[in-house]
Amino acid sequence: MRDEKDELDRIKAVINLDDVYDSFREFFIVAPDNFYKNLIQKILERPEVKENKFAKVRFGDSNAADDWPFRERTIPAMLFLQEGPEEFGGFKDLNETYIPRTADFVVALIEEIDSMS
């Protein structure tokens, strides 16, 4: 029989990307706790990431995106979002540079989490 608790216990981190289309506005980040906040900040300070000139970074809270139900169950879940209500759902060209550099940042984050016991 499937054990949902075991399945959830196996999930060590969740990284949710919701609207990651440009770097001109605020880069809104939800970190589950100070450990992950420090980890994210540390990665953002890396020279190769810093050179990518991410938008102004703001840490905050959220109860609405796909990461929230995981966090509700105490699974470390992070949200990365480009905030700006007037653009939500609207048409904008994908920024061909922002998405890959967001991906670079996420890969760096995954490498850190992967190395944890």
Binding site: R10, P69, P85, F91, L94, A103, I113, S115
Partner: protein, 261 residues
């Protein structure tokens, strides 16, 4: 395709898109599971209409997802400010002004939300009608000496048993411990001509880029790349939906059930 068409959960075009996402991950040689599930859908039957009784002027109104319907013949009453409304939403600062259309006994007959651009309510199955009206119109009404009287109507329907699917691509690690990288692929419903490139085609492509970079990298932990559906339907509480059952041998969503409603 992300730039071409909206991908509202439960629609035929979303089903096609789900397959295309799965194909991208299959091309990267990941194990792919298409995880079907049912949800409560919502449909706009007749768009909102608001008319100022005194002037006969029609006011532009937008639908608010999960709104109920007005009774047949619509509702009529005065517009009164009723404080702030906090949508089920990211961030903690976002609030919109909430107005009620009130009847002769000061009872709320329906609600008007100021520029509620994203257009959804915190949960499904509201029986009260909600409509979005521009800040300019609402402030104009607020600035009057006497409350403005309006006639309003909207018709909606809830759809039980709508079907959609998450796409789960797996990169096996040395251990069973997992890291999930996810984004929702479905498009928000509003009155606008919305495609959903930003929200959240950008996230879907972002997750694919991460997968591409990790494709040939050995990892300790198993990495799951998930494309969630029904995010904008907001009934999808993903960990509940994120099930391992049926991972093997699942044929994918039954397309015959993705019929226009």
């Amino acid at each position: 395709m992300i730039k071409d068409v909206p991908r509202v959960s439960g629609t035929p075009i979303e089903a096609v898109f789900i397959e295309k996402i799965a194909d991208v991950y299959r091309a990267m040689s990941f194990d792919v599971d298409i995880q079907s599930f049912n949800f409560i859908g919502w449909e706009l039957l007749e768009p909102p209409q608001i008319v100022e009784i005194d002037s006969g002027r029609e006011v532009f109104a937008e639908r608010v997802m999960w709104s109920g319907s007005t009774p047949e013949g619509g509702i009529e009453g005065f517009v009164k400010h009723r404080g702030k409304f906090r949508p089920w939403w990211v961030g903690t600062r976002y609030r919109v002004n909430k107005y009620a259309i009130v009847g002769d006994r000061d009872e709320n007959l329906g609600y008007l939300l100021e520029d509620h651009a994203h257009g959804s309510l915190p949960s499904p199955m509201h029986d009260m009608p909600y409509m979005s009206v521009s800040k300019a119109d609402l402030e104009r009404w607020r600035g009057r000496d006497r409350p403005v009287r309006v006639h309003a109507s909207v018709s909606t329907r809830f759809l039980l048993g709508a079907e959609t699917a998450n796409v789960i691509a797996t990169k096996k690690g040395k251990r069973d411990d997992e890291i999930i990288v996810c984004a929702h692929h479905d498009t928000v419903l509003t009155n606008w001509d919305v495609i959903g490139v930003v929200d959240n085609g950008s996230g879907v492509v972002g997750v694919m880029k991460v997968a591409e970079k990790l494709m040939n990298m050995e990892t300790e932990k198993t990495i799951r790349f998930i494309s969630f559906a029904a995010r904008r339907i907001q009934h999808g509480r993903q960990p509940v939906l994120y099930r391992h059952e049926g991972r093997e041998g699942r044929a994918g969503p039954d397309k015959s059930r993705y019929q226009p409603r």
